[in-house]
């Protein structure tokens, strides 16, 4: 894949670092903008959105659309390996994100491919439901 962004800038470094620091979360563009405004290093909306787009195109981060707010969330992809059998579950009550590394899920994937001829894309899929805490 060709390289999409060529120059190294302070803004890009900051955005990517912030995504790496929050690898366990789904970060929105708004959150990134707000974070750097607080830090007295404001980055413009357009820069944030444009850079996020190219990171997605380069497969460095993942993009989800949140069910609750109908807005985009981004997450740094640590390495392509873990992604393979790693689902995300999001609580519709508290919004927390859970990581599901589990054999059972890979079985489902295989089953759906064999029986229903559909190749699941784990990176694009978020399972919604209610978490432990919120069930009580």
């Amino acid at each position: 894949m060709e390289k999409i962004f060529k120059y190294k800038t302070k803004q890009r470094e900051n955005i990517l670092n912030y995504l790496k620091e929050n690898i366990q979360k789904h970060i929105t563009a708004e959150e990134i903008i707000a974070h750097f405004k607080e830090e007295k290093n404001p980055i413009s909306k357009s820069t944030v959105y444009r850079y996020l787009d190219s990171l997605v195109a380069e497969n460095i981060i993942r993009k989800y659309i949140s069910q609750e707010r109908a807005s985009a969330c981004f997450q740094y992809i640590e390495n392509q390996k873990t992604c393979t059998n790693h689902y995300h579950m999001k609580c519709i009550k508290c919004g927390e994100l859970f990581h599901l590394d589990c054999e059972e899920v890979s079985k489902l994937e295989e089953h759906i491919l064999k029986t229903h001829s559909f190749k699941l894309d784990i990176c694009k899929t978020v399972l919604y439901g209610t978490c432990d805490k919120c069930l009580k």
Copy 2:
């Protein structure tokens, strides 16, 4: 649950019928608006959005946020029963929606509840991937 809408109007009847006729699809608000504009029975945006909201609140239709367009999709709920072990899979290439009525999926649900203490909400979850046709 209390009744949210009280009067029967032509607009509401039309919207609900359209949703029922397209039970196998995920319909957007825009599609509803466009459909009735063509039919020479235009319904205003606000009416469509407001009525869809109340149908969702009454659990008569389901609301999804589409990953591709980050906009809301709606679908009539035929009956609460089929919903229980019925997942939706959407192809990221062609956008077609597939209905998955399958034992294997119920197993996953059970497993995730028991082992990971997370109660999946099938109605809120759409599995993304690539369909048979688009794989070729």
